[in-house]
Amino acid sequence: MHAVLEAIQGSPLAQLLTSDRWTITAHSKQILETLHFIAFALQIGAIMVVSLRLLGFGRGAAVAALCRPAFRTAWVGFAAVLVTGALQFAPIAAEVFYRPSFRAKIAVLTIALATLLWLHADVRRHAGAWDAGESISGSTKVLAVLSLALWPTVIVVARLMYAFVQMANR
């Protein structure tokens, strides 16, 4: 495992991201963080909208019509989160991988993702019926509460991890 991490960290891409050969690579950390922020804001914000709608906010808005673009935004946003996250991970792979704070972030993220997949499947199956007047089931509402709690937790844990890594690198 460690060999893999070292290979990632030593890869030409990781080297390029930390070189100051061009302005864009010299500022790659800031640029990637900014794109990561925009991407997770779109992703998590869209999930929060879905969750709040399922919990009874804004009943006038049809669930199917609201959730289709919201989930699309969430998944496109998450794809961008993964790409910008991986590019930030690469240059520090061998160091950050063993940090408990990194593992905490990945653990919360994995649980939140499982909830998101479940919620998406649930909405896809039932949105039509809900819009036709059927009431939203308790289990769906539990999923909505979970995602409402888990995704903001991912953000806070991720920010704390960043602080831990920065303290360690000083």
């Binding site: 800031q30 963080e33 900014t34 922020f37 925009i38 997770f40 804001a41 779109l42 992703q43 998590i44 914000g45 869209a46 999930i47 929060m48 909208v49 709040l52 709608r53 906010f57 804004g58 009943r59 006038g60 808005a61 049809a62 199917a64 019509a65 609201l66 289709r68 673009p69 919201a70 935004t73 940090r99 408990p100 704070s101 995704w151 903001p152 953000i155 806070v156 844990v157 991720a158 920010r159 704390l160 960043y162 602080a163 831990f164 920065q166 303290m167 360690a168 000083r170």
Partner: protein, 176 residues
């Protein structure tokens, strides 16, 4: 405003408390970023509708839901933003990036206000048309551009020269 005022604020009890450990400050940054997600995510979905990209969505009810989320989210951003500002008040008050961010937020606010006063009251009329009026689409594009810029400038503030808190006041260092 007076430089001494900002310096006093940056040296006050509130600033001390927020900087008790780097992790208190980081936690407030995390809360600020949760606000960013609620705010920008809901605004973006509204902008998609205003651009006419999600025509199945009823603009009136959807807009009310999304603004009911964006409003409190802005409140959270304002409160957490002030708390993040205080410990570095003297530095931020003189920072071009911070002033640009404030300026961009004013533009975003005026854009939202103009949209509200001009177009939102007639939402029932134009939302039924297959194509949104040009002014509505312009407001939506302006909104996305401005709020993306605000996020980028906010991240940029963290890259201005900063005195990191001393490492010896780090009671949680052993945790990691």
């Amino acid at each position: 405003m007076h430089a001494e005022f900002w310096l006093e604020l940056a040296r006050g009890d509130l600033a001390t408390w927020i900087q008790l450990t780097p992790y208190v400050y980081a936690a407030f940054e995390g809360i600020h970023l949760v606000g960013v997600a609620f705010f920008f995510g809901s605004i973006f979905l509204l902008d998609l509708r205003l651009l006419g990209l999600t025509p199945q969505l009823l603009a009136g009810p959807a807009g009310r839901l999304l603004l009911r989320i964006a409003g409190p989210a802005f409140g959270l951003l304002a409160v957490s933003g002030v708390l993040l500002f205080v410990p570095s008040a003297d530095r931020y008050a003189a920072s071009p990036i911070f002033l640009l961010k404030l300026g961009a937020m004013v533009v975003g606010g005026l854009n939202a206000l103009a949209f509200h006063l001009v177009a939102w009251r007639h939402v029932g009329v134009w939302s039924l048309r297959p194509r949104s009026p040009w002014a509505v689409r312009a407001a939506a594009i302006g909104s996305v551009v401005v709020w993306v810029a605000v996020i980028a400038l906010g991240r940029g503030m963290g890259y201005e020269s900063r005195q990191p808190p001393p490492a010896d006041v780090d009671p949680f260092a052993a945790l990691d």
